[in-house]
Every structure is written in C-alpha cells, then in structure tokens.
C-alpha cells in the first residue's frame, strides 16, 4: 500500500488509539497496521510527561515504534503522529532526517562499518570489501535470507580501535578479516 494514499485528511486524534479503548488492547506488530499495547501507550504517556512539551518524546517513541514494528513505515509515522497530535508530515520530516530510523525492513542484524578518517587510515575500505564478499551484498543491501543489512556510516567515535563497526547494539573494534568471519558466524 502506498504511503501517499494512507496519509488521509482525518484529524490526528482519530488515528491516535488514545481515543478508542478498543484499539489499545489490540496491539499488532505489523508495520502496515500498527497499534501499541495498553502498556506501551502508558509508556508513551510517561515519556511525553518527561518533557515540557510532549513532542519532546517523539524521538524516543519512534524508537519504541521501530522496536515494536521492525521499521518505520508510512503507516507507523501516521500512527505515531496521532499519538502526538502532530501532522504525519512532521513525523515524516523527523524520521527521514535521522539515520537510525529504518524506512524499510532491515535484516535481523545490522552491520554499520565506520568509513570516516581514522578508520579509513586503518583500512576500512578493505573491511567493507571483505564484508561485501562474505555477505554477497552491496553496502545498503540486505542478504537474501534477511539475516544481515550492511551499511557504511560516518564516525562512530571509537577511532582508538580502528577499524571498527557496530553490530546491532555492540561496537566491534580492531577489526581483521578473521575477526569479522568469527562475528558473522555468530549471527543467527
């Protein structure tokens, strides 16, 4: 379903889930029909209350949405917009500004290789070439089995251990081909 078609003229509150108790208990993890559980909606309200203006919680709630639905579809943007009384366009502008929100389903693991200066001096191009060969994908692509998405990114600020990369939440440092092979073998 195209995003353009899904962004309607309905007032945001009608999409919020907050106004309709029936939807709050029917959580889905489908990014095409996103709904938070009652517990998650309570967490949204807790986060919103931390900020002088509730919209300060938009980035954390987008992280919640990504954790729940796997990625930020246009439908998820619209759903989150409703939780804040914001326009879907505002949320789209935010989601597309940052690099850590996925606008398509990523692999089960995301590998982000630093390609900035210190890592470049330490051989990041050959690290990236090795990963491309091993995974059979280009940078920006996901393996056919959905296991790994390969990205190359700007400075992750671990230059003392260059070359390095991030695998999901973890920083993997002082990379060699052998270390990469071991890491890849450990990814389910």
């Amino acid at each position: 379903m195209s995003g353009a078609g899904s962004i309607s003229n309905r007032p945001p509150a009608a999409q919020a889930g907050l106004t309709d108790p029936a939807t709050t208990n029917a959580a889905t993890t489908n990014p095409a029909t996103p709904t938070f559980s009652a517990e998650q909606l309570a967490e949204v309200r807790r986060l919103q209350a931390l900020y002088p203006d509730a919209r300060g919680a938009l980035l954390p709630v987008l992280y919640m949405a990504q954790d729940t639905f796997g990625w930020i579809s246009l439908e998820v943007e619209e759903y989150v917009a409703g939780l804040f009384g914001l326009s879907p366009a505002h949320v789209h502008e935010v989601v597309t500004f940052y690099t850590l929100y996925f606008r398509d389903r990523p692999g089960r693991h995301v590998i982000s290789v630093c390609h900035n200066l210190s890592c470049h001096l330490a051989g990041a191009p050959s690290i990236i070439a090795h990963l491309k060969r091993r995974l059979g994908v280009e940078v920006g692509e996901t393996t056919e089995d959905g296991r790994v998405t390969l990205l190359s990114v700007e400075c992750l600020c671990a230059c003392e251990a260059a070359p390095m990369m991030q695998v999901d939440d973890r920083y993997e440092m002082n990379l060699t081909s052998a270390k990469i092979d071991r890491l890849l073998d450990g990814l389910a």
Binding site: Y51, L62, F97, H115, C155, C157, E160, Y171
Partner: protein, 422 residues
C-alpha cells in the same frame, strides 16, 4: 611529567561506573560543598578556574552560565551535549561508560549555579552501551537521593545526525524536530530548549566541575595556560603506535602528545600531517606540531582545539584521499537548511572524489577554494565553517599532492573524453 589524572583518575577501576566506585574515588564530596555556596559564587568559581567548553567551541563555561537572565521566573534547563560525533573524538564515550556519576555530580552543581531544576542529557543514538551505563547511574543516583530532590535528569537518545552536536540543532532535536540549528540571537541562555533559558554544556566540561569545587579555582587554573585552566582528554588516533585517550594539561604540545604519550608514528614512520582538534580543525604539517594544545594556542596556529580529537597521518597517507573522506562526511551531515552549506558540501565532495578517481581537472583546486571561501561565515551555524577548515588547509598545505593527481588526469584527458562520448 605526565599531568595528574583528574577526569580519568578511576578509569582503571573495574567498578568506576558504579556509585560505590565513584564514592571510593572521592565522588559526591563536591556536591555538599556546592550546596553551601550561593549560585553566583559557583559561577564565579568556575569563571576564575578558566574552564572552557571542551565540546568544540572553547567558550568560557562560567561566562556562559552568567548569561542566564537574573531573576528569571520560569524554568531554566541544563542540557548536556553527549552527542559526540566529531570525527577523531571518543573521550565522552569513556566518561559516560567509566565515570557516569562524575557527570551527574557536575550537573547537580551546574544546575544549582544556573538555578535549573531539570537537566537533559542528549546521548548520540549509536552509543547504546554508554546510554545504558549512564541510565543505570541515573537510577542509582535517584535511589541514593542525589537526584529527585530539586533536580531531575532526563536521559534522551539521539537518532543519528552529527548536526545535533551543534547546540541549537541539539535543542531542535530535543524538542522533537529534525535537528536544524536555530538563528542566534536569541542565544540559548535567553531562549533555548522549549523556549526557556538553557545552558548547553559538553560532558567533559561538566565532569570537571566537581573537581573545581573540591580543590578550588586557583588549583584548576594553575594546571593550564593563562587563558585556559585544567587538563583535558585528548583522543589520539590514526597512524600512531598507541592510539587512545590521554588526559594531559591543555599546555602540552602536539609533539609531546604524539611522541611522548601516543608512542610516535606507527612503525617509526615519518609524520606527514596532523588534525589537532577533530575533523573540522585545519590540518597541520609535520613542521607545525610545536604548538600548545590550548584553545588560544591552536587558534594562534591557524587551527582550533575543537574537541581535542587528534588524527595522525604518516607518509603513507594520501592527503587528497583524506580530504575526500572528510568531504564525504560534511556532504552527508549537512542538515540542508542553508543553501551555501547544502550545495557546497555536495559539490566539494564530488570534486574531491573525481580528483582521487583520476578524473580531476586543472581548475578543480581553485574551484574548491573559491566555493569554500564564498560560503564561509554565511550560514546559521558553525558546521560549514568547520568544513571550510579542512577544505582550505588540506589544499593549501599539500597543493602539490593534489596537483600531481589533476595534472596526471589532464594528461590522460583526451582518451577519456572519447570514451565518455562513446
């Protein structure tokens, strides 16, 4: 004569990140002292210590605090910039992971100085482990009663954008928007986060504050130069034998840092160039490293102390290739708000790319210099000026290396033109 370790004094303790570990190394002793001081007295103490911002701009911290309007009735916010992203810099990651309570104690004191009841700590999104460590420390500080009695901390994760390390871009992001910097004035101290007076300080800057209260401004000022007190954490990387974080006086020279601390150039190679303060600092040649690393020393040398990210390059490094990598960074991270920055960073990356690929043109170098200079100083924030530093200095100081590539490409040009029209 290595400087006394202050910020990094407990880094070797396995429990340095815990409340007990922090207390055991003298932590949470400055806060009761600060509670007995008038807020204005804290500001004066930090001013007298000559503490300067260690995130990049080097602005005097106490002076910044004094910009909060007197007798302001509404809320005042303290925002900590933990959006470490300057290429070549990794010190704040160490502080968040290994000494998170130092930041909390520093925030308590800073908040008293500026009469703030709420602090936000903006941690870059990729820093998951530092975020976990710091969040755990915040929970422990609440349980121990340091937080929640007149001062609260909200830990906020960024989502991947270098520009959010710019203080007004950070504020936009904290407000739930894309991280577009804001026009100044009004400065954040007058109208910052959520429209309220706001002080934005770097992690390392605030971690110094408990020590200043404990040991006095005169002690701190005496550690540095006439215009900048204290030590700071140098992130040293690139082609050096022992890359890592080194805490040293701001009066150390770049030569000492590279050769006496970081073990010299990898494999005893020959030094070619050094970036002294993160990628936005102008590059120095091997002949220019007898310079002190304080804010004013490096400014007088035509570059900047920035975030103290020192990137060392030896003779194996291609400077044009290094500039291409740096230019790719600025092109990727430009937020797109101001036309000179948005367009020039993209153009300059494309030109450096074609030079490195062997498709350069004779006019390319002057085109880069012209584009760089025209845009400098015309944008809302300092991002583009930071890009101009490397654009101009890499080419001016290593022009013959660029020309070797463009001349070789020109010599090969007729053949290439035929191919491209085939």
């Amino acid at each position: 004569m290595t400087a006394e370790k202050i910020l990094t004094r407990s880094f070797e303790r396995p429990d340095s990140h815990t409340l007990d570990g922090y207390r055991a190394s003298g932590g949470y002793q400055a806060w009761p002292k600060a509670q007995a001081m008038e807020p204005a007295a804290i500001v004066e103490e930090v001013k007298a210590a000559n503490l300067r911002g260690l995130g990049g701009a080097g602005f005097p911290t106490g002076t910044k605090w004094s910009f909060i309007p007197k007798n302001h009735a509404g809320p005042v916010y303290l925002v900590i910039n933990a959006d470490e992203g300057e290429p070549g810099t990794f010190k704040d990651r160490y502080l968040l992971e290994r000494d998170p309570h130092a930041l909390i104690e520093g925030m308590l004191i800073a908040a008293r100085a500026i009469r703030s009841a709420t602090g936000f700590v903006y941690i870059r999104g990729e820093y998951v482990e530092p975020w976990r460590r710091f969040s755990a420390a915040v929970r422990d500080a609440y349980a121990a009663g340091y937080l929640g009695r007149g001062f609260d901390i909200v830990v906020h994760r960024g989502a991947g954008a270098y520009i959010c390390g710019e203080e007004t871009g950070l504020i936009s992001s904290l407000e739930g928007k894309k991280g577009w910097p804001k026009l100044k004035p009004p400065f954040p101290a007058i109208k910052g986060a959520f429209g309220a007076p706001t002080i934005v300080n770097n992690v390392e800057t605030i971690c110094h504050v408990p020590h200043i209260i404990n040991r006095g401004a005169a002690w701190f000022a005496g550690l540095g130069t006439k215009t900048q007190g204290g030590t700071r954490m140098y992130s040293v990387s690139g082609r050096v034998a022992r890359p890592g974080v080194y805490e040293e006086s701001v009066a150390i020279t770049l030569r000492q840092l590279i050769y006496e601390r970081a073990g010299g150039v990898t494999g005893n190679g020959r030094l070619k160039a050094v970036v002294p303060g993160g990628s936005s600092a102008a590059i120095l040649t091997a002949a220019e490293i007898d310079v002190t690393m304080d804010v004013d020393g490096l400014r007088n040398a035509g570059t900047m102390a920035g975030s103290a990210g020192v990137i060392v390059m030896d003779e194996t490094v291609s400077i044009p290739e290094a500039l291409m990598v740096v230019a790719r960074f600025y092109a990727h991270e430009s937020c797109g708000q101001c036309t000179p920055c948005r367009e020039s960073t993209g153009w300059i990356y494309k030109i450096t790319h074609r030079i490195v690929e062997g498709r350069g043109r004779r006019a390319d170098l002057d085109t880069i210099l012209d584009v760089a200079r025209r845009g400098a100083g015309t944008t809302i924030c300092a991002f583009y000026d930071g890009a101009v530093g490397p654009y101009i200095s890499y080419i001016e100081k290593f022009r013959s290396e660029f020309e070797a590539l463009t001349e070789a490409a020109v010599a090969a040009a007729p053949r290439r033109v035929v191919v491209s029209h085939a």
